[in-house]
């Protein structure tokens, strides 16, 4: 059992942060790695990135957006409650290197995934500009954290309620135009990663994305998480989740993410839980 020691509801309860006792995982985790969590006996195995770890305290932190049955079930867990199973750390850690000017682009809960990577990139001496986007101000998460983790934080909202009115790609274009950008890291909804990659390809800037296909085991034994990268099939749980953004087949990934759409709806409805 993995006990929740701290819990915070962000953006009006649609995004939740949990700090969880998992000493063995905390000891080994590196930025970019994820865990798989299962709430109870009948639960599904759900992959979530570790937004933070505290090896001394023996805890890991996850930040998740409530999007369906399992994440709604996770939200029911309060401080003192426990996840039945947590497996990790999984996936390859982020390749961290000092390259100079870096732009980190995040959208939705991708921001939570992006946070530890941004912080690590800055810590090793990169000049990190961060561009984060949300549909509207009230669902923007982790503004302060991202501000601290980067040298320059730029905010975009689709409805113009905060920061730049428009998409992250607008601001990205501006930054790329100034030149000198050595690396772009983009994490968020698949369409966002697709458009960022398309743009950075025009500017010939290396781009790393973190993919979120549906997973089961997370250890390379089922192939559920396969993605096409550079025309080859890769297992995101072991070969990734980070890949060269210019090589990913995003359209295939989007279709694969819809595999269980009907079942997911039914599962949520019959559970009586709300989003």
């Amino acid at each position: 059992m993995f006990k929740i020691v701290e819990r915070e509801e962000m953006t009006g309860g649609t995004v939740i942060r949990n700090e969880i006792e998992a000493p063995l995982i905390a000891r080994k985790a590196r930025p970019g790695q994820f865990v798989i969590l299962k709430a109870n006996e009948t639960g599904e195995r759900i992959p979530l990135t570790m937004a933070d770890t505290n090896p001394e305290k023996g805890t890991i932190t996850i930040i998740y957006m409530v999007v369906g049955k399992s994440t709604a079930l996770f939200r029911e867990l309060k401080v003192g409650d426990a996840y039945q199973d947590i497996i990790g750390p999984l996936g390859a850690p982020t390749h961290l290197e000092k390259v100079g000017k870096v732009v980190c682009v995040g959208g939705g809960t991708g921001i939570a995934v992006l946070h530890p990577i941004t912080r690590a990139l800055k810590e090793i001496g990169n000049d990190v500009t961060c561009i984060v986007g949300a549909r509207s101000k009230d669902i923007l998460i982790m503004e302060d954290e991202m501000k601290n983790a980067s040298n320059d934080l730029r905010i975009c909202t689709d409805d113009g309620s905060y920061g730049h009115h428009g998409f992250v790609t607008d601001v990205l274009k501006e930054v790329l135009e100034k030149g000198d950008v050595k690396l772009v890291v983009a994490i968020g909804p698949v369409p966002m990663m697709k458009f960022v990659s398309k743009m950075t390809k025009e500017y010939n800037v290396k781009t790393m994305v973190s993919l979120n296909p549906i997973m089961v085991d997370g250890t390379g034994m089922c192939g559920c998480c396969r993605v096409s990268v550079g025309g080859e099939t890769k297992f995101a749980c072991v070969d990734g989740p980070e890949f060269d953004g210019h090589e990913v087949d995003y359209d295939e990934l989007m279709l694969r993410l819809l595999a269980y759409r009907e079942d997911e709806k039914r599962s949520l409805e019959e559970s009586g839980l709300q989003l």
């Binding site: 063995l24 995982i25 080994k28 299962k38 009948t42 639960g43 599904e44 195995r45 049955k69 399992s70 079930l73 039945q84 199973d85 947590i86 497996i87 990790g88 750390p89 999984l90 089961v216 085991d217 250890t219 390379g220 034994m221 089922c222 192939g223 559920c224 396969r226 993605v227 096409s228 099939t233 072991v238 295939e252 279709l255 694969r256 819809l258 595999a259 269980y260 079942d263 997911e264 039914r266 599962s267 019959e270 559970s271």
Partner: protein, 466 residues
């Protein structure tokens, strides 16, 4: 010997095909005590029993059968335990027709003695109504052993070494122990309660089972030594799914058998939405391959509502590698076979979902390395089969997750771990390996046999230092 009255092989009652093809309950119902005793009387108690030679772990088959005939059931199960720690499992899943029963003298003229069914009978009897008495255990040695992987080979090592007085901890990547017995083989063939009661038995003996421990990630082999383990056994199986490398393989609705069976068995997707994990319920299903894994997939598909469940295999019926009983059960339940057919492409719709498979007819040519006649394509023979679910069950390979994270562990050219056949020792000091991660996909009993050999060698090492 006095002439015996001829007794026919006792038939094990089964659920009727049309009923069982719609549920996940076990198919064969087990022998009654009366039938088992009668069946046991068919054994001729040979002086030089051929069946024992056919058993990879050398169970004293006439010995345990005689004790059934004498209705000494507890003694009978003890006899099997001397060589085989998981008889309730083996009685259900061993390919007896190729092993013990294939060699049985009675089988030369008629049906062989139903060794597997008898083994299953006594094991079930002990589990359900036995004494529950634990076997004697040696005094604690103070030595610690880590077993990586809780499949049949790991469980065997754990059981043997705990009885020899060592302190054993099993590390399992999944959230439940049992390996393929739990995530791969379906409930209707091997009820999971049997596996869990075997594991519970080991825990009662003093074995610690740590689930959610991915060795190579959560902890490394070298860290296990740093934590004070004196020896490590690696029994992580051959869990890497193989795909066909044909166009259309990433369409939604195309699964590896590993994923399909893991969702259904381990995650209990067949009870969705009571269990949260979903699975695609195809009406028109194609399974590629014809081993046990393929039979399990095709039969699971029927139980999940398929109207058509078809097996596509590139060789002919004679080469089908699955256990005889499984092929027979699959056919009875209505699984159709397309032999000498090879998939060349999968077709999909605009939502990226699979709608069909293009197959190519094959004919048998010259024998290949395996001695089986090589299937060669017949040019221009492409044809299309419709499907809304396709399951690829063409084999598995070694998962590199642990081996890549472990220094000093020599691998063979297919990336399986190199281990000495007589001891299970690897190139790394203090590390043994066995089961599918050494041999490639094989059988439960061979994995257990390898575990037994390694356990003996580990015991020697812990006792005398070599």
């Amino acid at each position: 010997m006095a002439k015996k009255e001829k007794i026919d092989r006792q038939i094990m009652p089964e659920q009727a095909p049309y009923i069982r093809a719609k549920n996940f309950e076990e198919v064969p119902l087990g022998l009654t005590q009366e039938a088992a005793v009668k069946e046991a009387q068919r054994c001729m108690q040979c002086k030089k029993p051929a069946c024992v030679e056919g058993c990879p772990v050398g169970v004293d088959i006439p010995g345990f059968i005689k004790l059934i005939a004498e209705e000494k059931f507890v003694k009978s199960i003890r006899k099997i335990w001397e060589k085989n720690a998981l008889p309730a499992v083996c009685g259900r899943v061993c390919p007896q027709e190729l092993q013990c029963e294939g060699k049985c003298i009675v089988g030369k003229k008629g049906d062989p003695v139903a060794i597997g069914n008898l083994e299953r009978f006594v094991a079930d009897k002990e589990r359900i109504s036995g004494t529950g008495e634990l076997p004697p255990k040696a005094a604690p040695t103070g030595k610690k052993v880590a077993v990586v992987g809780s499949g049949p080979s790991g469980l065997t090592v754990a059981g043997d070494l705990t009885l020899k007085g060592h302190q054993v901890t099993v590390f399992e990547a999944f959230h439940k122990p049992g390996g393929v017995l739990v995530y791969g083989i379906p409930e209707f063939r091997l009820p999971k309660d049997i596996v869990f009661s075997e594991v519970a038995f080991l825990e009662k003996l003093g074995v610690t089972v740590n689930c959610n421990a991915v060795v190579g990630r959560t902890v490394s082999v070298d860290e296990l030594f740093e934590e004070g383990y004196d020896a490590v056994y690696i029994g992580v199986g051959a869990g890497l799914p193989r795909f066909l490398n044909v166009p259309g393989e990433n369409l939604v609705g195309l699964f590896s058998a590993n994923e399909y069976l893991t969702r259904s068995n381990l995650m209990k997707a067949y009870r969705f939405p009571e269990y949260d994990t979903p699975i695609i319920r195809g009406k028109n299903v194609i399974t590629l391959g014809a081993g046990n894994v393929a039979m399990d997939s095709a039969r699971t598909a029927l139980r999940l509502g398929a109207e058509k469940s078809r097996i596509v295999y590139r060789r002919s019926r004679d080469e089908v590698p699955a256990r005889g009983a499984e092929v027979h059960h699959a056919e009875e339940e209505g699984v159709e076979f397309f032999f000498l057919t090879s998939p060349v492409e999968f077709k999909g719709n605009d939502q990226g979902r699979v709608t069909g498979m293009v197959g190519l007819k094959m004919e048998l040519g010259e024998p290949d390395d395996s001695g089986r006649r090589r299937p060669v394509p017949i040019e221009g023979s492409e044809f299309e089969l419709e499907c809304d679910l396709a399951i690829v069950a063409v084999g598995a390979g070694p998962n590199p997750l642990l081996t890549q994270a472990t220094e000093g562990l020599a691998l063979n050219r297919w990336d399986y771990i190199l281990a000495d056949e007589a001891t299970g020792k690897t190139s790394k000091k203090g590390v043994w390996a066995g089961g599918d991660i050494v041999t490639g996909s094989a059988t439960v009993i061979l994995a257990m046999g390898a575990g037994r050999i390694a356990a003996d060698s580990i015991h020697d090492y812990l006792t005398w230092g070599w």
